[in-house]
Symmetry: C2
Subunit: 347 residues, 2 copies
DNA sequence: ACGCTTTACTGAAACGCCGCAGCAGTGGTC
DNA sequence: GACCACTGCTGCGGCGTTTCAGTAAAGCGT
């Protein structure tokens, strides 16, 4: 019945268990680590009984010191703001936990935060690091001279290419081209593009996709149909959208830099009395959780962040288990998701 | 110049620094812990120099073993799915980091996961635990017999009340009443309610707020205007909404259980040719990041999750610093955010 | 009864850091 | 010149595990 309370306020240690069970600490340790074939069943049961009685919980920090592994992996979210990444993070946690690892989470607002986070994680002796970035363009990178005894590191969506590190990236250029092909197939000839922030690689990718897509389908490329106000303020977005609508001929489709931007676009179009998609088609990038519930539901280019998180952890696990030595760099496709906000051009 | 490489593959330890700097390990430890007043400046500089040369990084796991604190707090997200919580999580991380703590993140899909997560965090000897739940109603709770030597624990939005633990909760009843007052002020008399999942306290709160609100403003309470299909499937939602629209008299406002549900409502209304808010007003609960960008922008009851996260960490810090012994239970208000999706009833 | 293997367990040395008691040396006080 | 306080440092005993060499006893074949 009832657990026996230890007189001392401390939490029980292996030594306590050993004493009460009349065995050595080593034996208790063997029980803890599942080496039950190294003792009689009687001993095993006795030790387990005492553990339960004393409400014993092994200290993983002591174990970590002894084994030099912490069973935890560091995850850095660097300049991440889209709520989309909660799903990615949860996928990461689940995958890691199934392999017996915990997540040490760091959030970074800029490259210095990120560097600091890496150092913290090194101090904490995590067994691996997963670095989730937005694709901010950098000229140099502290990662280049990371300690040789740093744990495995997997970079996700990082603009800088390092030959040393495993990486997972996605390239939205192709999906952008695909989107344009789809729109061209519906009869659209005048496509406008609302770009993202200038210092991101993703912005360049989309511009490139836009250019190539138009060219490939013989559609007119007009610089004035590209609105790049590096828009952070919402009313600035709206102004940019209105400017695009003033073009002659007026665009029949707008490719926005993100789902939020696309939502603002739809709002603005509604406000000035234009219907989506009957008058103008709209497409975003991200596939945020709520995008499917917009009215009209938003067509978008889905970023593979969840998959990247899962794969990233798996790459890390491979490395940590020394099942692989070669650098692996993966490129994930972005998927065009066609929903209601795209329609044929009305002639 | 350039750092001197150690011949061994190991990472440098205090002993290495001590040897190379010609001092004892204690002195190095003093340097590490900022007790620079205990040595001459010359010694300090010499030690720091050697540290830099050897690219020394102190092992926080060894320090944790010695000091019995890990400088990390465990955060459990229990049954959290709304992307809203990424912001809360980031707020938590930032607040904790500013106080010198790291986040050990666990994700739980159900109460057993949650229990397991608590145990893992106890094993990892975190200095405190922040438990973020959705308000699932429980009959019993493993927390009741948590080890006496468990670290401080702060519960956020947990349906079960424990007198032992610090807690932060929010009650949407009042905001619901406020929303109804607002709608009544605009001339609405027939309000429908789409409820959330039956096993959540929040669902009960909103039902209560709905009931009290109607009563207080002399509005008719009709059970058939409450649609509680425990709706997880989207097409089920749509069917429920259509059923509400078939009521006679038809509701002029719909209070949805969440922003996603509200977005579906708006979609459905648009689909059948009803305008929001001219024909029907819609209001959600959550204030998800994208809600403001819906068209019309969504009125909603904002849940104080970010604030709760920040306050939760602060409560934890107080406890960990033993600056407070008394149990603190906070109730945060939910704010009614009026945006475009609410309008006067058209007569 | 003799070696040999196997089984079941023990003892002690790590792992890298902290913290405290202690110890020389110096300078000041009466 | 005995006493004390202060400064700047050292030595050592933990912290709670793991791990490995070692050992005593039992089993086994001959």
């Amino acid at each position: 019945m009832g657990r026996r309370d230890r007189p001392t306020g401390r939490r029980a240690t292996i030594a306590d268990i050993a004493r009460d069970a009349g065995v050595s600490a080593s034996t208790v340790s063997n029980v803890l680590n599942g080496r039950s074939n190294m003792m009689t069943e009687e001993t095993l049961l006795r030790v387990q009984r005492v553990m339960a009685d004393l409400d014993y919980r092994p200290s993983s920090v002591a174990a970590s010191l002894a084994t030099r592994r912490t069973a935890s992996i560091g995850v850095i979210l660097s300049e991440i703001e889209t709520p989309l990444f909660l799903q990615a993070l949860q996928a990461v946690e689940t995958t890691a936990r199934q392999a017996g690892y915990n997540i040490l989470l760091c959030n970074a607002r800029n490259i210095d935060d990120e560097h600091a986070a890496v150092n913290v994680l090194l101090d904490k002796e995590v067994d691996g690091i997963l670095l989730f970035s937005t694709s901010v363009l950098l000229e140099s990178d502290y990662l280049a001279d990371l300690s040789p005894w740093a744990p495995p590191l997997v970079l996700i969506n990082r603009a800088v290419l390092h030959t040393r590190f495993d990486q997972i990236n996605w390239d939205s250029t192709d999906a952008m081209i695909e989107a344009i092909a789809y729109l061209a197939g519906l009869g659209h000839r005048h496509l406008a593009h609302l770009t993202g922030q200038a210092h991101r690689r993703s912005t360049l990718e989309r511009l490139e996709g836009y250019r190539v897509g138009l060219e490939r389908h013989g559609l007119p490329y007009r610089p004035e149909a590209i609105s790049s106000g590096d828009p952070l303020e919402r009313h600035e977005w709206e102004r940019n959208i209105l400017e695009l609508l003033a073009l002659n001929p007026r665009p029949t489709a707008i490719l926005a830099a993100g789902d939020t931007c696309a939502a603002v676009t739809i709002r603005t179009l509604h406000r000035v009395g234009l219907r989506v998609p009957q008058d103008i088609s709209v497409i975003g990038v991200d596939d945020q959780p709520m995008s499917v519930y917009l009215s009209p539901s938003l067509s978008t280019i889905r970023l593979p962040v969840v998959q990247a998180g899962k794969l990233g952890v798996e790459m890390l696990l491979e490395r940590m288990a020394r099942r692989r030595d070669s650098v692996q760099q993966l490129n994930l496709p972005c998927e065009l998701v066609v929903r209601e906000s795209i329609g044929p051009v009305s002639s």
